[in-house]
């Protein structure tokens, strides 16, 4: 399809056609990579590549305002928000690749190719006999867009903004936590509670020894016993390191086993 479109637009300059071929390949690679990438963040990055290429296409087609808006709004704001959510799932998690529907992959490939062929053929037939008109006033495109948005289609524009505001308010209502007035703890309340709680200082950090610096290794108190507060309740304590360490310092095996059961209960 790329070749046909290139051939159709006969009066393109060399620079324009070079940019189109290079970025066209980049955009297609981004689109395919987005579907095929196993990692959600990689997938999002491929989509960013496609969106950036589209932004540059707008520049090449003498619509710099649209190009910049494409980059600022889609690449800069919307994709960052996507990434914001994807980041929370962590780097090591990979989607499960077990197929639950038999034959789904083959069907998807066939139908996808058929759809692409259909769209390509339709677009080709639709634009085959069209001569490009160009943009009449390149330097003045912003007022023209503004007139279309805020004058000709102002009603549709306002309806869209009302829809978006409703969605935003809906999301806030769903995420809202009802709390009786005046019960929100301020920084002052928290500080006071902390100073009266018997432990104003921070909790001890996990143990950092020559053999381990994991957050699962509890710190040792000066007498060789395990400091329980030094590891989170959510982390499984790594007691082998502590046992080796205790053996080195005190040499008492019985003392060590006692501590092991104590920490194990907590986890």
């Amino acid at each position: 399809m790329t070749g046909q479109l290139l051939a159709a637009a006969g009066d393109m300059s060399t620079g324009e056609s070079t940019v189109f071929v290079v970025l066209g390949i980049a955009a297609v690679v981004g689109a395919v990579g987005m579907v095929l990438a196993r990692n959600a963040v990689h997938s999002a990055l491929f989509l960013v590549l496609t969106m950036l290429s589209l932004g540059v296409f707008y520049f090449v087609q003498q619509a710099p305002f649209l190009g910049v808006v494409q980059i600022i709004v889609y690449t800069g704001a919307i994709m960052i928000l996507f990434l914001f959510v994807l980041m929370l799932i962590g780097r090591d998690s990979v989607d499960s690749m077990v197929e639950t529907l038999p034959g789904q992959r083959t069907a998807a490939v066939v139908l996808g190719l058929a759809f692409a062929g259909l769209v390509g053929a339709t677009v080709y037939r639709g634009v085959r006999d069209i001569t490009p008109r160009g943009i009449p006033d390149v330097n003045n495109s912003v007022p023209v867009i503004a007139a279309a948005l805020f004058h000709d289609y102002v009603f549709a524009f306002e309806l869209t903004s009302a829809l978006l505001i409703t969605a935003a308010v809906g999301a806030m209502v769903l995420a809202h936590v009802e709390r009786p007035a005046g019960t929100r703890q301020t920084q002052r309340d928290l500080a006071r509670a902390r100073f009266r709680g018997g432990r104003p200082q921070p909790l001890p950090g996990p143990g950092v020894f020559a053999t381990s610096n994991s957050i699962g290794t509890p710190a040792l108190l000066p007498d060789g016993t395990v400091a329980r507060e030094s590891i989170s309740r959510l982390v499984e304590p790594n007691l082998a390191v502590v046992a080796a360490r205790a053996e080195l310092t005190s040499g008492g095996a019985g003392h060590d086993t006692g501590e092991r059961s104590g920490v194990g209960d907590e986890s």
């Binding site: 963040v41 932004g55 600022i72 800069g76 780097r91 330097n139 003045n140 503004a146 007139a147």
Partner: protein, 432 residues
């Protein structure tokens, strides 16, 4: 379409000076802009350390070169030759890509900043600016919104807790403050009637915009500090909370240098943009502007650089003066103060501009603008006031909870070491 709505300002003239230069001139200008930014960064790092040093009663770097001015060059060379550590559990492609994705847009953004008027380079008359577009200022925005990726991805790819938190903070922070920054520039667009940087500078040949658009200028100055992650808004890299934030795992080498570089390039760019939009661009400041040749030839490059240095001093001054604020307070400032104030201000500026274009006389203009303001104020005053929340005063048992140990009220503070140093013979004041 009605021409009355659209022609808020005089129609912009086409930018025929750009895009027609020979290729060697474009390459020369590109290298020139790159070199200018690099020198400004090398200068900026030493300048900041020196200024902060003097603000904190010390001398700052003074070992490398005369007065320590080559310190940043030495640091840069050291970083380039250090071993490149790649942590074992990182996402390798993204980890390597992230610093590049921050550094490249930082440099690209400066390409639309006008450094001076038309000058003669080897017999060619050409503006001292790499390129310009009808939407030039928005290019800077596009680049700063792309620079967020490098920070967010560094946080994620490092596979570590603090970088992730720093990256998340940074994503939320930069998007929020980009809105405030973008809105503060809208008023400049309305005044200048163009979004191209060279035409905005040309429109300021008479009076600069920082005075008529003072609200926008103040909001811009606050927003760019958040946008560039600088103190007191440096929450993504808050060392007391997040070690080094998003680049904690970039412990050495050129990748860390790229983050450092792009931070300072961003400072230069936003200072240059502030000068372009509000402080007259390369136009000479008042006493110098009486000299007829001040705005011709290569002199404006000097005035413009001076304005950038003033901007960098402002950043350093903030860093040396203000403590870091809490994240929720920071977000509240952005969303509940800067953005609503900005919207109201743009409404006011747009109303005034439209009325001026339609030749409404001053009395009617004041009536139309004044009545809504008076109504809003009246509603504010006459609204039934909510009774203030009762503040519970607790009796604290000093026996049970002794108060935190504080220094005595009659503590004698020793004299400043600077005083002793000033009176001592020169050469004694050796180290920073």
């Amino acid at each position: 379409m009605t021409p009355g709505i659209l022609s808020l300002a005089p129609a912009p003239t086409p930018l025929e000076a750009f895009g027609t230069e020979p290729i060697w001139l474009v390459l020369l200008k590109t290298v020139g802009v790159f070199g200018y930014l690099f020198v400004m960064v090398l200068f900026g790092v030493v300048f900041e350390r020196k200024v902060v040093g003097y603000m904190q009663n010390r001398i700052g770097p003074n070992r490398v070169g005369p007065w320590g001015i080559l310190q940043s060059l030495a640091d840069g060379l050291k970083l380039a030759f250090k071993e490149d550590i790649l942590p074992a559990m990182v996402d390798k492609p993204v980890y390597i890509l992230a610093p590049i994705m921050t550094a490249v847009p930082a440099f690209v953004a400066f390409s639309v900043i006008p450094l001076g008027p038309e000058v003669s380079i080897f017999g060619h008359r050409t503006p001292l600016q790499l390129t310009d577009l009808p939407v030039g200022v928005l290019i800077v925005f596009a680049c700063s919104s792309l620079a967020v990726y490098g920070i967010v991805l560094a946080g994620w790819a490092s596979n570590s807790t603090y970088p992730l938190l720093g990256g998340l903070r940074s994503a939320a922070q930069m998007i929020s403050y980009e809105i405030a920054m973008g809105l503060s520039i809208v008023a400049v667009f309305l005044y200048a009637g163009s979004m191209s940087t060279s035409q905005i500078v040309a429109a300021q040949s008479g009076s600069w915009y920082f005075w008529p658009l003072s609200v926008s200028f103040v909001i811009y100055c606050i927003a760019v500090v958040g946008e560039t992650n600088r103190a007191p808004f440096d929450l993504p890299e808050a060392e007391s909370e997040l070690v080094a934030g998003y680049f904690t795992e970039y412990s050495s080498s050129l990748k860390f240098a790229m983050y450092m570089l792009s931070e300072y390039v961003a400072v230069v760019t936003v200072s240059g943009l502030a000068a372009t939009l509000f402080l007259g661009g390369w136009h000479a400041p008042w006493p110098l502007s009486m000299w007829a040749g001040a705005n011709e030839g290569w002199w404006p490059l000097l005035w413009f650089t001076g304005k950038i240095v003033v901007g960098m001093f402002f950043f350093t001054w903030l860093r040396g003066t203000l403590p870091r604020i809490r994240y929720d307070q920071f977000m509240r400032l952005g969303w509940r103060w800067l953005i609503p104030t900005n919207l109201a201000w743009i409404l006011l500026v747009a109303t005034v501009r439209t009325m001026r274009n339609e030749n409404v006389d001053l009395r009617r203009m004041l009536l139309v603008i004044g009545i809504p303001i008076v109504v809003v104020l009246l509603i504010q005053i006459l609204r039934p006031q909510r009774p203030p929340r009762p503040v519970a005063v607790e009796e604290i048992d000093e026996e049970e909870f002794p108060s935190f140990p504080t220094p005595p009220m009659d503590l004698v503070v020793p004299a400043s070491p600077r005083l002793a140093m000033a009176t001592a013979p020169e050469g004694k004041a050796r180290d920073a």
